[in-house]
């Protein structure tokens, strides 16, 4: 073989261990399905050559090439168990050396699929809380080696836990109900969950299965004919006069509304019936559901931020909902944990306090964003709409008056931007970050500064010209972006937050409390 491959360039300058060679075979066999397409291509290519003997040769060549690259990959893969971290080096042309500190390893999982098991091999995965979910996998090592690695990492982690458990305050063991919804509350929530989704579902079904229906579903003449057959004279409806038509329209409209409310209530009862949130030693435990009862536990330390939402109507009655943004390592699908679907602010702050997130002490602390930000965005909308208007007048021969209606869209946009600016608030205190946004659906995000993962100051070309910036906070399981800040304010906020964040290690926050 050539020199570069025989003499691997060691990226870290440390010797490592190789994976088990038999893993090559396991990987090769389990990777065979992926080779189907190249194999077919090879077979078809060979068939054109009019030489049947070529086909097996081509198949063998494809298999050999695949095996060769797997072998190269195996040769260039090293892992090293160091004093503080696990290192994995891999890559044939692109060399990657990954270092995973032991403190960051959340769990080590050992997996044995059938073939690997027959060969006495297993796959070891190191899971950290990395946001992209792309951690390190050793594919494959012997089972003893896998167990050795796991024991080793558990032992190292055990050291730390002892070191960290000292300041931990013992919490009461008994489960305390901190929020529950009775039937009346669920009913109110149902009324707010007005939904016309049933029509979408029915319409969708009708479209999907219209071949089953004995008639054309969307054919209104047919419907009119059907009505006439059963004695209703359609023409007579047209003649019953304005008042009667209005009554009919009103009836249709109110039945629509009625159906919407009924759907909302039914769906809500199915999901939220018997909602009960308790606080146990392990964390929050939520039970709900009418037919399918769900029971979800979320450890308190996993809470990364809280989101308080309210709608335009429920806000008047003081109803809000509370969600927790979490790391969500167990279930990737539910990264938002609904802690209270419909609660008063008092109830809600009590729950969030249990998760270590305090209520903002009054609105004074929250500040408005620079209006310039919204004006810039509006100005960005201007040229395309003006161009569209001119194009309509010149090319489509549209008269000027209806074209000017397009300008109305700009006015509406301006109004929406104004609403957004008016409702937008941001702020921070010693512990937390606050961001309120949305004039229709209001959304208040509260994030403890200690749980911020990274801070970015970003500026687009226009914002840069006017000295504006946005602050993007990396939060596990969610995002928090404060826009419309003068650059100096953004820098000051970042400096203040970083001062607190950098002083505390993330592993420490995630394990204790």
């Amino acid at each position: 073989m050539n020199q570069a491959i025989d003499d691997p360039v060691d990226v870290t300058g440390q010797e490592g261990e190789r994976l088990h060679i038999s893993g090559l075979f396991v990987g090769f066999v389990s990777g065979l399905p992926q080779l189907l397409f190249p194999l077919l291509a090879a077979v078809f290519g060979a068939r054109k050559a009019d030489n049947p003997a070529l086909i097996p040769i081509m198949i063998a060549a494809v298999l050999a090439i695949s095996l060769f690259f797997r072998w190269l990959g195996w040769r260039r893969f090293r892992y090293h168990v160091g004093a503080d971290d696990i290192r994995v080096e891999k890559g044939i042309l692109n060399r990657t050396a990954r270092s995973i500190p032991y403190d960051r390893i959340q769990d080590v999982s050992i997996e044995q699929k059938l073939l690997a098991r027959l060969m006495g091999l297993s796959e070891v995965k190191f899971e950290t809380g990395g946001g992209d979910g792309d951690d390190a996998t050793l594919r494959f090592v012997t089972l003893e080696e896998a167990n050795r690695l796991r024991a080793l990492i558990r032992a190292r982690k055990a050291d730390e836990v002892v070191a960290q458990d000292v300041p931990q305050i013992a919490e009461p063991e008994d489960a305390e109900t901190i929020f529950a919804m009775d039937d009346k509350r669920v009913l109110i929530l149902g009324l707010y969950s007005f939904s016309l989704i049933i029509f979408a579902v029915l319409g969708g079904l009708a479209q999907q299965f219209d071949f089953l229906l004995p008639f054309e579903f969307w054919d209104f003449k047919r419907w009119a004919g059907l009505a006439e057959e059963s004695g209703v004279n359609v023409n007579s409806i047209n003649h019953v006069g304005m008042a009667a038509q209005l009554i009919l329209a009103f009836g249709a409209f109110s039945s629509l509304i009625f159906i919407g409310f009924v759907t909302g209530v039914a769906r809500t009862f199915l999901r939220e019936y018997g909602f009960r949130l308790t606080q146990t030693a392990k964390g929050f435990r939520r039970r709900r559901g009418l037919f399918t009862l769900t029971d979800v536990v979320m450890p308190t330390h996993r809470v990364q931020a809280a989101v308080v939402q309210t709608g335009p109507i429920r806000k008047r009655r003081g109803w809000h909902s509370l969600k927790f943004v979490s790391l969500a390592q167990d279930s990737k699908q539910e990264s938002n944990y609904v802690a209270a679907p419909l609660a008063t602010l008092d109830e809600l702050w009590r729950i969030s306090k249990a998760a270590g997130i305090a209520a903002p002490d009054g609105d004074e602390r929250l500040r408005k964003g620079a209006a310039l930000h919204w004006i810039i965005h509006l100005c960005l909308l201007m040229p395309p709409s003006l161009i569209a208007m001119t194009a309509l007048v010149i090319f489509a021969d549209a008269s000027l008056a209806p074209t000017l209606l397009l300008a109305l869209l700009l006015v509406i946009a301006a109004f929406l931007f104004w609403c957004d600016w008016r409702s937008y608030r941001f702020g921070l205190d010693d512990q937390q970050l606050y961001l309120r946004r949305g004039w229709w659906q209001q959304r208040l995000t509260l994030a403890p500064q200690l749980k911020v993962q990274s801070v970015e100051i970003a500026q687009g070309p226009l914002a840069r010209r006017y000295g504006l910036a946005s602050l993007k906070f990396g939060i596990a399981g969610g995002t928090l972006e404060i826009v419309a800040l003068p650059l100096s304010t953004a820098q000051a906020i970042r400096a203040a937050v970083m001062e607190k964040v950098a002083a505390v290690n993330y592993s420490a926050i995630n394990q204790s409390r």
């Binding site: 692109n94 990657t96 970015e456 939060i475 399981g477 820098q491 400096a495």
Partner: protein, 157 residues
Amino acid sequence: MNDNNLPELTPLDPAFITTSRIATALGLLPFVIGAGVLEFAQLLPPGSFLVPVFLVYAFVAYTVPARKYRHWGYDMGTDRLRVVRGYMFYSDTIVPFGRIQHIDVDQGPIDRRYGLAKLTVHTAGNHNSTVALPGLAHADALAMREAIRAAIRQELL
């Protein structure tokens, strides 16, 4: 532009200009070839494809990397890494060492030829879950990794 109370930024290794020139030149080569093919087809007067495409190509592959280089910078603090990049779309990211989950040092074939490497840190956040810093001298990248790792270890004690 620069924040007064933050330390000066360290520039990347100057070889980064060369490596990113090579990488862009190779990556955009298909467009030049395509323009050459169209030129051969003689649809329009000679030079109407190849000349503009080649000018743009030369600009993107030669001038842009040097500009990009000027706007990259990093600062390795005692407890945080700051990465600054971009002019039109400026971005200035700070990752505290205490929030770094794992660290990668990557070397592509071009990088290896010039002794460069890319340092990537991974955080648990959804935004900026990876922060990459290319164009470091390989030895520097390794030293930074060691420093970050040591800092993670030390903070726990």
